[in-house]
């Protein structure tokens, strides 16, 4: 900024904040490409290096009426996420009898899985990752029955553009949907954590025998059907997780903050022990905290968003439209990929990239790309994307540390 204002005649000089408003593009460009004479490093207007993220903080479990909650602040963007669990009875599912019959085949195997550990821990992660059938069933239940309901609200006065009380804006709808699709594609929440089982009591022959000796034959015939095993367990209900994100303050990059808050809130979520009560014909829960269980999430996908700032956005077009316009000076860098853009930078670039990565084995394994999205331009090539993945992997380590602390 010093260079930009110094070039202007003193009578017309503006304070940096006004120059930033009047000529945002030139202002950021002056920061990123300082004149070689000034010996200043290339730095963003907000003082960060191009691949540097804003200071992030997270705090979980502060809201009373939620099963799990988290507040995540990334710079000046703040997101509050609350997870509320409600019960979906299978009686309320219109298509349940159909889908139940289709899953009946895998129920036996599933029961076996569930018996291994009632509250799945990290150990059995490998077990059910192996079984494709369980995966399909997982998907059928979590996705098919809409057990995860994320909604993001921007109409909290978080930024001047969003009128409160109005229906969700296009941005809010798209963010809600991105969160939903990422929840489904990462299969973050296991369907097994959300199922409420019922084990019918064995009211079989043993109880009846003393009373009616005469019908021994019939009983025997019945017994042969269910003799070798107890009655098959059945699913009576599901937990539905309402994941509501309120963006309290918006200063660019809402998706990273929203996703981080969802992740932190789900890690904080505790579901009560629930069972089917035959007498009342309803699901009852225990309010005992020692019986409640946390969700065992699959991995820890961390989102990192980037924005591309071009020195001359029309340069690509000009070469096509006016072929002999002459090449620009080659030496200077013509575009920068800015990590975690703030509101000011987001307004200056069309091209966005978002990379969601996870790491195996608690960060010691290899990096897995969960989602990669790029739109709005063509300046980022495959080499750049590879670099972005590396940056995202570094970001994963930071976020893991922050989320573990909260």
């Amino acid at each position: 900024m010093a260079s930009a204002t110094a070039n202007a005649p003193p009578s017309l000089s503006l304070p940096p904040s006004q120059f930033a408003r009047l000529q945002p593009h030139a202002y950021l460009l002056a920061h990123l490409s300082p004149p070689p004479a000034s010996n200043q490093p290339s730095i963003r207007a907000n003082g960060r290096a191009p691949s540097q993220f804003r200071v992030t903080s997270a705090n979980a479990g502060s809201l009373t009426h939620t099963n799990g909650s988290a507040v995540v602040r990334i710079g000046d963007t703040a997101a509050v996420c609350g997870v509320r669990a409600e019960i979906l009875h299978t009686d309320d599912i219109a298509s349940w009898s159909v889908s139940e019959s289709s899953t009946a085949a895998s129920t036996a195997k599933h029961q076996h899985l569930a018996d291994l550990s009632d509250h799945p821990t990290k150990e059995n992660k490998d077990v059910d990752q192996d079984s494709d059938a369980a995966d399909d069933e997982d998907r059928a239940h979590v996705q098919g029955l809409n057990l995860l309901v994320p909604n993001l609200s921007l109409s909290t006065g978080c930024a001047p553009g969003f009128t409160p009380g109005a229906p969700p804006s296009a941005l809010a709808q798209s963010l809600s949907h991105q969160i939903l699709s990422l929840l489904h594609s990462t299969r973050l929440v296991r369907a097994d954590d959300l199922r409420i089982w019922y084990q019918p009591p064995n009211l079989g022959p043993e109880d009846i025998e003393p009373h009616n000796e005469d019908e021994q034959m019939d009983v025997d015939a019945d017994q042969s059907g269910s003799a070798e095993n107890r009655q098959p367990r059945e699913i009576k209900a599901f937990w539905v997780l309402y994941i509501d994100v309120m963006i309290i303050s918006l200063a660019g990059n809402p998706f990273d903050a929203a996703w981080a808050s969802v992740l932190a809130a789900l890690r904080d979520t505790k579901l009560p022990k629930a069972w089917w009560d035959v007498d009342n014909e309803m699901v009852l829960c225990s309010d005992d905290l020692t019986q409640a269980y946390g969700l065992s999430l699959r991995g820890l996908p961390v989102a990192s968003s980037f924005c591309v700032f071009e020195a001359d956005a029309a340069a690509g077009w000009r070469a096509v439209v006016i072929p002999d316009a002459g090449e620009q000076k080659k030496g200077s860098q013509s575009r920068w990929i800015l990590a975690d853009p703030d509101g000011y930078e987001e307004g200056l670039g069309q091209e966005r990239a978002c990379v969601v990565v996870d790491k195996d084995n608690d960060g010691k394994g290899k990096t897995v790309i969960v989602k990669m999205e790029k739109h709005g331009g063509w300046t980022v090539d495959s080499a750049d994307l590879r670099q972005l993945v590396d940056i995202s992997a570094k970001r994963w380590d930071d976020m893991k540390r922050i989320l573990d602390q909260c």
Partner: protein, 316 residues
């Protein structure tokens, strides 16, 4: 009717969790929350301004958790929270020009929006504002309109948005609904909204006659026999801590002018157990109590605004 612009849950609808302990005994096995403060003691208020840089003014307000909630947080045993503490964020956008289609207004046009987060209350709230939220918005607007000097901004609009992140209960969770029930928690929410909005207005440098602050007082009958004894006057009530609230009052009060801009009194205030030499009728005692609570909130508000000014002076 499904909302196509939001992600809807299962079409058959879901039910909130029912806890077995609640079903076994209507009063609940757990100890009910008890007020540990003196009747005239107020809860501490956390109030901070300027947390939302994109707004012209903003504030965040939080009530101190009551004793039962603090104990439950320190040593969690049950999943059912004994009570809750108010948490809300307020933003002020403006003054900004009115849209072209709006008719001429010589004064500042004030719009207030109060919205509960879906997870704010014990019952899940919908995404669309319901009647009680609109009601709160109207009450808040009258409270602030009396304080703002609206003639200074002709043809301008001011948007005040409040997001309730955690609301207060209307009664103790284990109690069955009865005739004394009303939305008592809403009155605490309104008092918090007034104080927070006032701080945000000062943060946005909107000219006001004085900092208007909100306060709540209530007449509660505590004894087991219900309404046999005359109800006592209690300031800054947490509805979860009282067996039955007979009447409650919330005021928006400007100490410098000794003026009330908003008064909302609910319930039967005819019987009140006051001091022997106190000859005030019940409702007057109630209003005076609410004003005292508002005076208490005003000291916090003054400090928060002082910090806000120090920040703007420091940065300029």
């Amino acid at each position: 009717m499904t909302d196509r612009r939001r992600i809807n849950g299962p079409p058959g609808g879901t039910r909130p969790a029912v806890y077995a302990s609640l079903l076994q005994s209507a009063t609940g096995a757990a100890d009910r929350a008890q007020r540990q403060r003196q009747p005239t003691d107020l809860r501490k208020i956390f109030l901070k301004t300027g947390l939302i840089p994109s707004a012209s003014g903003s504030s965040y307000l939080e009530f101190e958790p009551s004793a039962s909630l603090a104990a439950a947080r320190a040593n969690p045993k049950s999943l059912i929270p004994p009570s809750s503490a108010l948490k809300l964020a307020c933003t002020v956008h403006g003054p900004k020009p009115l849209p072209r289609s709006a008719t001429f207004s010589p004064n500042l046009v004030l719009t207030t929006h109060v919205k509960y987060a879906p997870f704010a209350a014990r019952r899940r709230k919908g995404h669309i504002r319901d009647a009680s939220e609109r009601d709160l918005g109207v009450h808040l607007e009258t409270a602030l309109r009396g304080a703002i000097i609206a003639e200074r901004w002709p043809k301008s609009g001011l948007d005040i948005t409040l997001t309730i992140i955690e609301a207060e209960d209307d009664r103790w969770w284990g109690d069955a609904p009865d005739s004394h029930d009303a939305s008592w928690g809403m009155m605490n929410v309104l008092a918090g909204c007034i104080t927070a909005a006032s701080a945000a207005l000062a943060d946005a440098h909107i000219d006001c006659l004085d900092l208007v602050s909100g306060g709540v007082a209530a007449l509660v009958s505590e004894d087991m026999t219900g309404s046999s004894g005359p109800p006592r006057l209690v300031l800054d009530t947490d509805p979860a801590e009282h067996r039955s609230i007979v009447s409650a009052c919330v005021v928006a009060y400007m100490p410098a002018r000794d003026e009330i801009t908003e008064l909302w009194l609910k319930g039967d205030s005819s019987k009140a157990a006051l001091e022997d030499d106190d000859k005030r009728p019940g409702h007057e005692a109630l209003i005076d109590g609410a004003v005292d609570a508002a005076r208490g909130a005003h000291t916090v508000l003054g400090q928060a605004v002082r910090e806000s000014i120090a920040r703007t002076v420091g940065s300029a």
